[in-house]
Symmetry: C2
Subunit: 352 residues, 2 copies
């Protein structure tokens, strides 16, 4: 059985409810930094792992066993739901999602039908069910936000500048919004199904939204992420909303309907707090590269993040982005111990 609010510091923090110890997990805690993950991947491809519930569950569990983190996150990819619709999308190791024929014209919208999670993603839902049985910490459901998924479909792969995505957005706003509506529907269906099968929280990854100006985010992206987050409200689970380079967007990302906003390492957490309304928590924000440093340096930086979180009960300790492949798992284990030892909350939400 998944833990209740009473026993989960992670869920309590997401809800801003009283608890003693700051919870901690790491984005991409499952993955290439772990030898036990690399061992599995030496025998199975990335997509094979995602599509095989026993393997996907196993790699999700690996960091929970090793680190004693306060939450697990479904091992999957941002594009897994949309890829399940048969649009010619492949995840290439070392590259990322690659789309054979990128989305560029209004007619490409027809390539996106509605997602039927039971038929399209049975392996994801089975993974969720296995995990909920096996875990003694909450499982976070996982989805890419409409903008970030759209950027892969339109660019055809990873991008530094998102030219084609922005060009479509700016030059054919009607097609843009129709694409985003379809992707929002797919994201929502995937997250609802994950919650229905036992996920205790969700994280919406709008990893690349930070490429946008605040006014473009507000006009072209926020309405669609808001639809996902607000329609999920009735599922009753905390909603975390995360992106990289989003220092100027934190307030807008909160306002889209998040319970918790992910903060990347660029913005000191106490500064970030002033940009996020009361009633919405924070998650982050140790530089993922900082854990490559000697332990004394790491320790001081963990302490700095805890200090800047101000003892508030609505903070979840995490990195500012995903665990880097070069990370030493022993250092992450020490970070978890330190957060659990030193991260005390004062039990109430103070004035920002």
């Amino acid at each position: 059985m998944p833990p209740t609010t009473r026993t989960s510091s992670f869920l309590a923090a997401c809800r801003g409810e009283a608890h003693d110890t700051v919870p901690v997990w790491f984005m991409r805690q499952a993955g290439r930094s772990l030898p036990e993950y690399r061992e599995i991947r030496s025998r199975h491809g990335f997509e094979e792992v995602v599509h095989t519930p026993e393997l996907a569950a196993e790699v999700t569990l690996q960091p929970v066993r090793r680190y004693g983190v306060d939450a697990a996150i479904l091992f999957s990819d941002i594009v897994t739901p949309v890829a399940s619709l048969g649009i010619g999308l492949e995840i290439r190791p070392g590259v990322g999602p690659v789309v054979d024929e990128p989305f560029r014209r209004p007619a490409d919208l027809d390539r996106l039908r509605d997602l039927e999670p039971d038929e399209d993603l049975p392996y994801v839902l089975e993974t969720v069910r296995i995990l909920v049985r096996e875990l003694d910490v909450p499982l976070i459901g996982f989805a890419g936000a409409p903008f970030t998924v759209a950027s892969y479909l339109i660019e055809g792969g990873p991008s530094k500048t998102y030219d084609r995505t922005k060009a479509l957005m700016f030059s054919d706003e009607a097609t843009w919004h129709r694409l985003m509506e379809r992707l929002a529907g797919i994201t929502l269906a995937s997250l609802r199904a994950q919650v229905a099968n036992g996920a205790s929280a969700v994280q919406l990854f709008d990893s690349w939204a930070g490429a946008l100006t605040p006014s473009d985010y507000e006009r072209y992206v926020q309405p669609h992420s808001r639809r996902v987050l607000t329609e999920l409200a009735d599922a009753g689970v905390p909603r975390i909303h995360f992106g990289v380079g989003t220092g100027e967007l934190l307030g807008l990302m909160a306002d889209a309907g998040a319970d918790v906003v992910g903060v990347d390492w660029r913005v000191p957490l106490d500064d970030a707090r002033t940009r996020i309304p009361e009633g919405v928590g924070t998650q982050g924000n140790l530089d993922a590269a900082a854990v490559l440093a000697p332990w004394e340096v790491v320790e001081a930086r963990v302490r700095d993040v805890l200090r800047r979180s101000g003892g508030r009960p609505d903070h979840v300790f995490n990195l500012g982005h995903g665990v880097l492949p070069a990370t030493d798992p022993d250092v992450l284990a020490r970070v978890v111990d330190q957060v659990h030892r030193e991260g005390r909350t004062d039990g109430t939400v103070a004035d920002g």
Copy 2:
């Protein structure tokens, strides 16, 4: 002869002195977006262009002729000075700078001797001299800042996460500072020689500094960029200090000794202004991808940047990053016309 402050709106804006019309130029205005540049590159490699004064001068002049921009910037690469020391660095088209044997150990410091611009970069200085004769607008000298150059040397090429750079910084601070001191000396020597040969301003590109937290920037980077900028003060030319994703660093980048701070598109210009002390100007910040939009959209966005610059005489209109290769030159020409038509200053520096 290069124009004096009296006749150059660009130099007046850099100095916060009275002038009527907002000046405009574009980072990477010379380059792949121009058919006349692609024509030259169809016959000459990138490094050949940089190393051949007649060609480097020609491609620098192309956008000045075509657009009527208020400044030219030396066509070069961020790593050109350090590459001239024979460290096994090559600029690969479509990839960027690649270092055969990346810098990882203290012994690698010995690979960086002092730069002697007259001997190491004679082609750069000859290019500057040709340009100063040919141009009727100021020439901006060009250099990579120590951190950004260091990131190429340490990573061995372009990076998304700068893990190895940060790992060296955090784990061997003494070696880090010695490397940065050497790179600062090289940057300084290159810029001084460009000014001695006639450049009327300089721009220090710390393109990737935005990957750092403010406190890391302050500790590991700012002292070295400050040395470059303050030792250049006696050269008497305006110093522009630019980076991408530097919303949290704007004040620190100004404080390093800049006359003008470059602002990327993520931070609305009026917000950016509140982070930069009075006495320091701004440059930017139209999203480089915005010019891929239909003209009505571009026009409204140009107007928005001008509005947010508040009629201050210490603003230089530019993009938030370099011109994208897919850009239509005709659109940039219209942007220049619009800025010259609509960008009026009120002649005095208002309170921030």
